[in-house]
């Protein structure tokens, strides 16, 4: 789960990581109020959950009231990767002496938490990592959640020459690690991590991502989720125990299992069609899920055919067949269904559906070929 910068900043403050003074504003009046409190010049930052805000024009500096109101209104109406910011963060402009990078994340392959730091922070950090891997410091926690400073202290020493900055960075890193482990983060990132003209360290940006699987341990974090960034259909699907992602095409797909769902989309594509969605009904056999899946798909008016591809394992094909029959009875399905069922209880399923006059495919390729053909008629 991603959260906005202004909320991540609150967490930073709570954990003792220094941030620039400021607050989030929904109106230009609020923005002016904040700016007067902290003093000009201020930086205005669009609060959208997308990278590249600065490059999209979503971050600007304002030296006076007039500039602030002008930029506030401009940025508020800016479309950044499909989203308009509901809030803008107004922070005191920092006089930056140098930009660093500091983050804690998980290295999946090593199965370990890792500190990543660089003396060359800023928006070009990924290019730096590629071109000069030697400029990136990585420190693995080796499964350790105990914040033993003696172990990871050298990270700060390698990052800074000045003893005072080393000390300050060590304490900030300790707090970042604390935040990372206490809140079950998958990422806690400060970029840029800056030294200002007074020689103090400040987090000039705050990025925190939480592990969805661990949210049950942190009910307080649920309130930080911004539902505007989640497609209404995708959210509803989630509530129904379905995993759904909308795409651009016209072949609706209902599949069991994420891998097979992707494989089905790929096959639709390679055979000349365009998948309308990714939809995984999961491992359960509940016929209601099929009904809900059909309902969600039918909301997309572009869809010309529904392709159901089920490989029964835990999922029993006859349960899926009953779900299809229920859907046919309860809702008006104005487009053709192409059904492929194989695996557990496939015979029973075929009997049920053949009686109802439906054609059942055993081969995935044949079913996809048929669905693609219909989508082009």
């Amino acid at each position: 789960m991603k959260i906005h910068e202004y909320l991540a900043r609150n967490l930073f403050a709570e954990f003792g990581i220094p941030i620039a003074e400021g607050d989030a504003a929904q109106t230009s009046d609020e923005a002016l109020f904040i700016a007067h409190k902290i003093g000009f010049p201020v930086v205005i930052k669009a609060q959208v959950l997308a990278g590249g805000r600065g490059k999209a024009g979503g971050i600007k500096i304002a030296g006076n009231e007039k500039q602030l109101v002008y930029e506030f209104n401009r940025i508020k109406n800016l479309n950044i990767k499909g989203y308009c910011a509901q809030r803008l963060l107004i922070v005191k402009a920092i006089d930056i002496k140098k930009e660093y990078y500091l983050a804690v994340t998980i290295d999946n392959i090593k199965g370990d938490a890792v500190i990543i730091a660089s003396a060359e922070g800023g928006v070009e950090i990924e290019e730096t990592a590629k071109a000069h891997p030697d400029k990136i410091i990585k420190f693995y926690m080796q499964g350790d959640k105990i914040l033993d400073e003696a172990r990871w202290g050298p990270v700060a020493v390698r990052l800074f020459n000045d003893a005072r900055l080393q000390q300050s960075a060590t304490s900030i890193l300790k707090n970042l690690l604390k935040l990372f482990f206490e809140k079950d983060c998958s990422l806690a990132e400060i970029n840029p991590f800056v030294v200002n003209k007074d020689g103090n360290l400040v987090a000039a940006d705050a990025k925190v991502v939480f592990d969805d699987n661990a949210l049950y341990r942190h009910p307080e974090l649920i309130a930080l989720r911004d539902l505007k960034y989640e497609d209404a259909d995708e959210l509803e699907a989630k509530d129904e125990g379905l995993s759904f992602v909308k795409l651009e095409g016209n072949v609706g797909c209902i599949v069991n299992g994420a891998g097979l769902a992707m494989g089905t989309m790929d096959t639709v594509n390679l055979l000349g069609g365009r998948p309308a969605n990714f939809l995984d009904v999961g491992g359960s056999s509940n016929p209601q899920k099929v009904l809900n899946a059909v309902k969600i798909l039918l909301r997309n008016k572009d869809i010309k055919v529904i392709l159901i591809n089920i490989f029964g394992g835990i999922t029993r094909c006859d349960d899926i067949a009953n779900g299809i029959l229920t859907a046919l009875k309860q809702i008006d399905i104005p487009i053709p269904l192409v059904i492929r069922l194989t695996g557990t209880n496939e015979k029973e399923a075929k009997a049920l559906l053949t009686q109802a006059g439906l054609t059942i495919y055993t081969s995935m390729r044949q079913a996809v070929t048929q669905a693609v053909k219909i989508s082009k008629d």
Partner: protein, 292 residues
């Protein structure tokens, strides 16, 4: 020979009194797997389908001499279940449970690194040596005993691949589902080495997918260690590019993880890449003939 499990493997089922645990314990036993006991704390002394329920892994190990454990407990309790197996030096742990927090898996990984246990999963379908034993949730009847080793990150897509092998009369030595979580116990590289050493396995099928860096590591491993033919299908070519997570992910992986990039890297390592899962049997047959 097969890898990791066979007809002699003695399996305990953790979470055997739950809905999934009891159902699959029976399915596995019906397939021929030696299910020697179940573990549910506080419910020891019962029997489920004739399988004795014990209170702890330690008790189960003492009484049944089990050498494998399969876990069906809810995500909240899965870490402790795995750690209990590791503490009791169970050689093979298969975790079916999905939704385990990542930091729980970091703890598990640390414990595994100092242990004699191997973990398969979590969030996986398990593994099967056809005709001998299955530990997991896959439908046994689509498999057939033979000489193809199958290793996959997926569940139902693996069934699709196995089904196509079986209807083309290409049986399998062992099929193993590694699991879809970010942190897993056993990876492609581990299984590739086991298949390379297994005399029964003549060829290997890999089913990968978009994301992560495992297929890239597999390609390196194949170049160095694998002389048997390998065919691969990579799912997710048509998936929209993933939602990014700050810069740290990109710095860590420092490589492309799209399906197309993975296919190219594997192709460069000599792997046969197919576009459709049903092309694997023909592609492998052709390569095996070529080798004589």
């Amino acid at each position: 020979m097969s890898i990791l499990i066979d007809q002699n493997t003695r399996v305990i089922v953790q979470g055997i009194t739950g809905r999934d645990g009891s159902f699959h314990a029976k399915q596995m036993a019906d397939y021929g797997t030696k299910i020697v006991g179940g573990v549910t704390p506080g419910k020891g002394g019962q029997e489920i389908n004739g399988i004795p329920v014990l209170n702890s892994v330690k008790e189960a190990k003492d009484k049944t001499s089990c050498d494998a454990a399969v876990i069906y407990v809810p995500a909240k309790f899965a870490k402790d279940a795995i750690l209990e197996d590791i503490a009791n030096a169970i050689p093979l742990i298969v975790c079916i449970t999905e939704g385990i927090p990542v930091l729980d898996m970091v703890e598990v990984k640390k414990a595994l690194s100092h242990s004699q246990s191997r973990l398969v999963g979590p969030n996986c379908p398990g593994l099967i040596s056809p005709g001998k034993a299955k530990i997991g949730i896959m439908p046994g009847h689509i498999h057939k005993s033979g000489d193809i080793g199958v290793v996959s990150r997926s569940g139902t897509l693996t069934y699709e691949v196995v089904y196509n092998l079986t209807i083309n009369n290409m049986g399998q030595s062992t099929c193993i589902g590694l699991g879809g979580d970010p942190i897993i116990g056993t990876r492609f590289v581990d299984v590739l080495k086991l298949f390379q050493e297994d005399p029964q396995t003549k060829a290997i099928v890999m089913v990968g997918e978009i994301g992560g860096g495992d297929e890239q590591l597999a390609a390196e491993c194949i170049k160095k260690h694998v002389t048997k033919p390998v065919a691969a299908f990579i799912a997710g070519r048509s998936a929209p590019s993933g939602k990014r997570m700050g810069h740290a992910g990109a710095i860590i992986s420092s490589g492309e993880s799209t399906a197309d990039a993975k296919m190219q890297i594997l192709r460069d390592a000599g792997v046969i890449i197919v576009d459709f899962p049903d092309e694997i049997p023909q592609a492998l047959t052709a390569r095996l003939k070529l080798r004589g």
